[in-house]
């Protein structure tokens, strides 16, 4: 319920105030989206280099290799390999997925879907983007320092990440960049939480919000609680590296006093596990909505879905220890973390039940956003179920730090989130830019991506079970791993296919922007608030603040008149 009224200010006129230092949530959302897609490209190229090295060690990377590594004849050198997988992880998590799903869709969808004119704190919103921008400059600049960028894995565990393990300034810049991007996310999160609580349109209760907003809202809450923890951890490591403190230093190098590197792991993973849900919750929200919209049927047990999101957010705080089973915590902690981890599958299973319940007896339209949503259900199923092996301590003794883990978390964090994000882009493209993307090429993009994704990540799960451990430059140094060469080649070819498929998206996207078919106000025929206004959304969104009278998924009601099968949230609920 709107606590106060936002006034409609006149639209900014100059280029700077309109496109660069804009307070408008829609422009900031687009800024995040552009940056996210840019970094997705960089992180993707890094992934290709990594995959190539694993399947064809010692062979030059086609085309780009000669350009990037002239002194080795196009072969990725081992120190660069370590930088590549470190930066790939960091970029994909903090600079690609976070800006696209949270920065982009969060900013774009929240005010439009809850019926307000802008975020609660437009200035913080702008700062959030510019903090992100500064942070990405800091991160990329590390690539050009004498000893190169950070190379300790995206987790950057001390003591490897301390000065004796990574002497280059690149590692310090990595921590600094993460600290700043954390600040950016916190600013965004405060904004999202406040907006959702105070600026919902009159009449809109929490359960009248679309599930997308529920997902983003839960994400924002987790962000606001746990990114400060990560920030504190990064700051302490910066102290260790720059000022000579010894919070995390131990072993032979600890000549002036010693700390404990395990402390960092606790700090990192109490952030790091919620981070997984920070990334996936918006995608879950988008998928729950899309399934209902395109099955032309109310979301099955939408309240249970929303409450499951809350339950998962709470549980995510309590399970982080499963990342540390092999550090030999006390048995009591190990057992508690294992049991708590297992309970997460209950709300997850409820999601699946509700998703399938939603499409059950629907009238399913397989438009591109729906295909992507169904794709998420498939890949998240695989990702979630493979997590069970890692949650039980004894199987984790074998699987921890193998490619099994890599396959598992890519299924959940990369495949599901990426597909959810693409689904969202195809779905909100009309409202964001006022144009439609090509349906045909969207479907081609989906099917090729789907093949690529499953080839890559299922392959990783198999090589991991075969015993190949993570983050190794040349697995075939070990005689026992040579039997995995064919599978590694299969994974790499799938990865190249997946990478190539993204060009279809890129061309489709740019083509739509340049000369796409203009979109109607409500091309998908759904009733949430953003579809009550013209496409693209005008400055300050709603001329009149809407009054909400029903829920977001009022589709397929048999008593609707005039051949309509949906009703807007601003319309009085038609009795069944």
């Amino acid at each position: 319920m709107a606590f106060y009224e936002q006034h409609a200010h006149p639209a900014p006129k100059t280029f700077l105030s309109k496109y660069i230092f804009s307070y408008d949530h829609k422009v900031i959302a687009k800024q995040f989206l552009w940056s996210g897609i840019f970094f997705l490209g960089i992180g993707g190229i890094m992934a290709m280099l990594i995959r190539w090295t694993l399947a064809y060690p010692g062979q030059s990377f086609p085309i780009l290799g000669q350009l990037l590594f002239p002194h080795t004849g196009g072969v990725v050198p081992p120190d660069t390999y370590a930088m590549l997988f470190t930066e790939h992880g960091t970029i994909m998590i903090f600079y690609a997925i976070t800006p696209i799903l949270i920065g982009g869709f969060g900013n774009f969808c929240i005010p439009l879907m809850i019926g307000c004119r802008d975020m609660a704190f437009p200035l913080l919103n702008m700062l959030s983007y510019w903090f992100f921008f500064i942070s990405s400059v800091v991160l990329l600049s590390a690539l050009f320092t004498p000893l190169g960028a950070a190379a300790g894995g995206w987790t950057s565990y001390p003591t490897l990440a301390l000065t004796f393990g990574s002497p280059g300034i690149g590692q310090t810049l990595w921590y600094l960049a993460i600290f700043i991007v954390g600040a950016s996310s916190i600013l965004g999160a405060i904004n999202y939480i406040t907006t959702v609580i105070t600026l919902r349109a009159p009449g809109m209760g929490y359960f009248d919000m679309p599930l997308t907003i529920w997902g983003i809202w839960m994400t924002a809450i987790l962000n606001a609680i746990f990114l400060p923890v990560l920030g504190a951890g990064c700051l302490l490591v910066i102290f260790d590296r720059v000022f000579g403190t010894t919070f995390f230093l131990a072993g032979a190098a600890a000549t002036t006093g010693s700390g404990d590197p395990i402390l960092y792991q606790h700090v990192f993973w109490i952030f790091g596990h919620p981070e997984v849900y920070i990334l996936i919750l918006p995608a879950w929200g988008v998928v729950s909505d899309l399934l209902s919209f395109f099955a032309r049927k109310p979301a099955f047990a939408a309240k249970a879905t929303a409450l499951s999101m809350v339950a998962i957010s709470v549980l995510s705080i309590l399970v982080y220890g499963h990342h540390m089973f092999t550090t030999q915590m006390s048995p009591l902690l190990t057992q508690s973390f294992m049991t708590l981890t297992m309970t997460i599958s209950i709300p997850s299973a409820i999601f699946f039940g509700n998703w399938l319940g939603t499409i059950w007896k629907g009238s399913i339209r397989l438009d591109s956003p729906m295909l992507f949503a169904l794709g998420v259900v498939f890949v998240f199923g695989l990702g979630g179920l493979t997590g069970l092996y890692l949650g039980t301590t004894t199987t984790d003794f074998y699987l921890h730090d193998t490619y099994f883990v890599v396959g598992h978390f890519h299924y959940t964090m990369a495949a599901s989130v990426l597909l959810g994000g693409f689904g969202g882009i195809y779905f909100w493209m009309p409202k964001m830019f006022g144009v439609m993307m090509s349906e045909f090429w969207a479907k081609v993009h989906f099917w090729i991506s789907m093949m690529g994704i499953n080839g890559v990540f299922m392959g990783m799960i198999f090589v991991g079970y075969g015993g190949m451990h993570r983050r190794i430059y040349n697995p075939f140094f070990y005689e026992e791993l040579r039997r995995l060469i064919p599978m590694n080649e299969f994974v790499t070819v799938s990865a190249l296919i997946l990478g190539a498929a993204q060009f279809i998206f890129l061309i489709n996207f740019i083509h739509a922007l340049v000369k796409g078919k203009p979109a109607s106000d409500n091309p998908w025929k759904v009733g949430t608030l953003e579809w009550t206004i013209p496409s693209p959304a005008p400055h300050y969104n709603f001329k009149e603040i809407p009054v909400v009278k029903c829920g977001p998924h009022e589709l397929g009601n048999p008593n609707l008149k005039d051949g309509k099968d949906f009703q807007y949230q601003t319309e009085e609920l038609v009795k069944v």
């Binding site: 010693s258 509700n354 498939f378 140094f477």
Partner: protein, 281 residues
């Protein structure tokens, strides 16, 4: 495992022929391509490794069951209720009772079918086996391990049975163990975090500077197996492998006797680098 995925070897051969048709097999280092060979983990050489394999397989069967259910729903519903076949959707709004039932049944089925079972089994294995440290009267082989960038160092107590003395047998990247006898490790690291991983014994534990972690197992097969570092430890992380050679108890005794003799002859008591070990507690 190979049973389930043996079926998939058909797909393997399809993929293989696809590869060769686009000319990629020329890049292969190894031309014998049985893709699904890798669905078999490394040979289990420990007494308790089968517990881990058993739990893995159990979880796999459960997962396949639940994933097949999801797929039936996903593909089946999409096919049956496609808008061309099913023009008017079934309107369920406000049917709270059905929602509550569905949610409850799913929650309970998953919790009992998977969670409660596998966490109980894992918990019991942990308690009864993996954290049930060998007692002194069982005469376990005791070994101190120090990881460093990028090598594994192993220390046997030597003839006097006391660690960190001048008659200790110290080896680098070369661990020799008897079969049919419990082995107890104390593991630490000199510099960064490493992880002591023996795939054939299904076990790994982190080696951390400033801490001593423990690991025990009992092996059953004589042969040569890999030891690797599983935690990112710097540029040459991938080279940080050691070999594990397992002997029958008699062979082990004769090797140990020779090694102890050699250690007494070659260890330089003045060399401070010899004393990286610690007192066993």
């Amino acid at each position: 495992m190979s049973g389930i995925f043996g079926v998939l070897s058909f797909f393997g051969s399809v993929v293989e022929s696809l590869f060769s048709s686009i000319g990629l097999d020329g890049l292969s280092v190894n031309q014998s391509t049985d893709y699904w060979d890798i669905t078999v983990p490394p040979e289990d050489i420990s007494v308790h490794g089968h517990l881990i394999d058993w739990l893995f397989n159990y979880t796999t069967y459960m997962n396949i069951f639940f994933f097949v259910l999801v797929c039936i729903g996903l593909f089946g519903f999409t096919f049956i209720y496609h808008h061309k076949k099913n023009k008017t959707p079934h309107f369920t709004y406000g049917n709270k009772k059905a929602h509550i039932w569905t949610v409850t049944i799913i929650g309970i089925a998953v919790f009992i079918g998977i969670d409660a079972t596998i966490s109980t089994i894992s918990n019991n294995d942990l308690k009864d086996v993996f954290l049930n440290w060998p007692k002194d009267k069982e005469k376990p082989v005791k070994i101190e391990v120090m990881a460093q960038q990028w090598a594994w160092k192993f220390r046997y107590a030597g003839a006097d049975g006391v660690f960190n003395t001048q008659d200790d047998v110290v080896t680098t990247n070369d661990l020799r163990l008897p079969i049919n006898r419990k082995v107890l490790f104390q593991i630490t690291s000199k510099d960064v975090i490493h992880s002591f991983f023996i795939p054939n014994a299904r076990r790994k534990v982190d080696a951390m500077p400033g801490r001593i972690s423990r690991l025990w197992f009992e092996l059953t097969k004589a042969g040569k197996y890999p030891i690797v570092c599983a935690e990112m430890c710097g540029t040459h992380h991938y080279l940080m492998g050691a070999k594990l050679i397992t002997y029958t108890p008699e062979d082990y005794e004769s090797w140990l006797g020779q090694a102890q003799k050699l250690a007494v002859q070659t260890n330089d008591p003045e060399d401070l680098n010899l004393y990286w070990g610690w007192k066993w507690e």
